[in-house]
Symmetry: C4
Subunit: 279 residues, 4 copies
């Protein structure tokens, strides 16, 4: 799908996921901070949310694969008839497949099954790595501008893969989670930028071999990241401000619901025990 829509679609998904993460993680950390000591006892509510996130990933990946295969000019699940059929669509399907696998890993990590700790992050890191890996060999024989603008995407993709694999070992590190959110937003907006540059809406094509264009695009990538940082920063502070404001009410609720939480705590300690065993 080498057109504007083909870039806007993944861009929208990455942006939405990045935006959502930049809300979810501050929320989790703010919750933990409020309950000193029992750091692992996130309420079931968060567990549910992560489960939904994983299911959405699986669903979107499935839809993406189907769309790439059965669009009118797609390969319709044919791979070879004398020559390779629509390899571009097959490559995109493969990328979606690994994001689907990452979704499965998320869902498994949230279940009560004894999966190894950090499996969800390994899955996401692999999905990003495969995306970058396939893009890297995509780029052969293109114009200088096309190649450069996709190379910059790879910086965001491989940066995300590296930071996510770190999270598999340094879990619950707020800094890394915020960093990943910002890279996902960057990837999202950059997909849009690629669409605008290569398939301009007003039909005014960019000079593909002009060195000035390449220099501008490099700088523009940095501006995108500055905006991504701003979005993440605003979300982070809004979440903390809101949770602080409504924290007083909550604490009173906690005292009333003390018996219930005590009960929850003991079960969560068991979970903790099991997890530290697992690690």
């Amino acid at each position: 799908m080498a057109n504007f829509k083909g870039h806007a679609l993944p861009g929208t998904f990455f942006f939405l996921f990045g935006f959502w993460w930049s809300v979810k993680y501050p929320l989790q950390h703010s919750w933990k901070k409020r309950q000193h000591g029992t750091r692992q006892s996130l309420p079931l509510f968060f567990n549910r949310i992560d489960l939904i996130e994983g299911s959405l990933k699986i669903f979107f990946a499935f839809v993406g694969i189907m769309a790439e295969q059965f669009v009118p000019d797609g390969p319709h699940a044919h791979l070879f008839n004398g020559a390779w059929v629509k390899l571009m669509n097959w490559q995109h399907s493969t990328m979606y497949l690994f994001f689907g696998i990452s979704g499965i890993a998320d869902a498994l990590s949230m279940s009560s099954l004894p999966v190894p700790a950090g499996l969800d992050r390994l899955g996401l890191s692999l999905a990003l790595f495969v995306e970058g890996f396939l893009f890297y060999f995509h780029l052969h024989n293109r114009t200088a501008l096309d190649q450069h603008i996709h190379s910059l995407l790879l910086v965001a993709v491989f940066g995300g893969a590296a930071s996510t694999i770190l999270e598999a070992f340094l879990r619950d590190n707020c800094l890394l989670e915020v960093f990943r959110s910002s890279l996902a937003i960057l990837q999202g907006t950059w997909f849009y930028q690629i669409g605008f540059v290569l398939y301009p809406l007003n039909g005014d094509m960019w000079e593909e071999e002009d060195h000035g264009n390449i220099m501008f695009i490099t700088m523009c990538f940095c501006w995108h990241y500055a905006v991504a940082l701003l979005i993440v920063g605003v979300n982070y502070s809004t979440v903390w401000w809101i949770t602080n404001r409504f924290g007083v009410k909550q604490r009173m609720d906690l005292e009333i619901g003390l018996r219930k939480t005590t009960h929850l705590d003991s079960s969560s300690q068991k979970a903790l025990l099991q997890e530290s065993d697992e690690e």
Copy 2:
């Protein structure tokens, strides 16, 4: 041995080792989880298995070296007579040699000798590094497809080397062990794929310089890895399901054999003490 068999042989070994690891490590972790607290006290049974694994590696490495040297068109231990004799076979022998060294490191780590902690993983990482290192300089002056298909192998090889050296420091990390298993399976199946592509059984040679072929092969590599992940996942869940099912019986045995385990524990604690000293 530049033919189909020459690729099927190492492929089979890597696949079998990867498959075996994807069974062994879940088994070990499931066992540990069952015995909360005394994490290091794996029964002697596992020690034996690791010893056998090491010995098999040494044996296979020896057989490999002998085969490479004394096949009819091999160098028969001659290195130089005016020109270099059969350098390809010598390079393969060198790879086997380092896997043999890795086997020795495994055996030493399992013995009661005071070897540094993590020696077995360093040995395996070195063997994989040397394999990749020699392959890398192998590739000069080949066709584009041949070079590309071997480069993809290097991704699995160096990925394995990097993940294994991490294990030397983050020991008993289930995630890394499962990851290593999947990369070994990937390497195994990819050796077969190389064989099928470069020496097709039906004699229908692939177009070596076609860009479509290269794009397909890149994607195919990702599919191999998806299959490797599936195999590892199935093995992992089967092992946990079986150990859970037969866990009830086991726990009763444990209570009966309590006196014995107490005795074992104290000795294992000594081992633990020594090991933490060692680190």
Copy 3:
């Protein structure tokens, strides 16, 4: 600003920051060592200093952006009029922007707001990465000497980015802080060296394609680093010598001010609690 002054200006800033860090960090560590046990309880004085440092960074970044935009031959905030306007100045502005963001991260980390631990180091690392990233694509189509002398700068820049991101996880590691100081001094003096070589004061241009010049410049870079290490070493030992000499007097003051410190300690322990929660 491709002239001598354009290189002397950032050189001066980097040198001053590096020099200042090589004084500040030994001072902090010497203070901590004097107060065994309560490692986190740095006096408010250090907090203030870090706040001032962050504010200075923001101020300098603002001045830098304004200067790059509104110098007589600058772009005056115009980006595009048929062709790109003064992309060089825009790129430098972008670099300053990220150092400004790093300054904001510093200020936030010093405030009592619940920012993730290590945010200041991530900000600095990103600023250095963006600097190196933009410089890297700057270098196209230049002479061999110009390209080489800027590549050497990248060694200092990316080395600094890598060491700073490590600090986000290994916080309060004196070795890394001293290492960062030395790399900042190196960057500062090397900017001057670039200025001297490319825009010689006596007007005697260097032979740009001479291999001897390139070999000398490589070696010269190492000498600069040796001098940077010397400066850091002298500052480090001076600080320790002074704090040791005046330590006796200080300890007496401490005993007199015991009641006050007890009070301070309890509040700093709260801070510690919050921080360890944060991590």
Copy 4:
């Protein structure tokens, strides 16, 4: 000094240092294991040895610099007279300079001064990095074989630099210390190999552009490393065997000298306290 001797000299030094390390570190670890609990209390004897090692490094570096400068065809401390004077000798002097700095860092780390923990390893890592860095830019415009044989050296050099910087953070890790020893031995024997290949004693020059030679040299590098591993392994086991044999006598001495050790322990605990403060 582009002749056989010029390669044999550094080769000898690296080999001797690697050999010595492969004896020293097992000795230290064997000593620590014998004294459970008080891990930091190495006897003054080891401190002395490290001090001597540092002093030797400084001395050798000084001799090396003098030799490179004042050999008959050296630059005699002249750097520029119209053209650059003997840049090769100056580059070698620079390498020696950084090994001298590493020696100073060693000596400082062994003194009672409050230097940051891990300074000695950072110094050694920097010295190796500078060696590799200068060699890397050395290699321009040489024959394929010459370039390749020196590139292989860089694998050992940069591998050593990477493993040594890890030691700055994972201190007293026996595995890393043994690994460093083996890489130093490899570097030592490889310098000899370079000498034998480029300046053959029997005057029979190697075909410089023959691909077979390059393939053999790559493999030969792996053999050198296998030998280095053998040497390290033999030294390691010899040291443990000897210390075990004479350990019984030692333990009796310990019991007699109990009062003294108790006294030592308390002082060493203070040192430990200070060091953990430092970290």
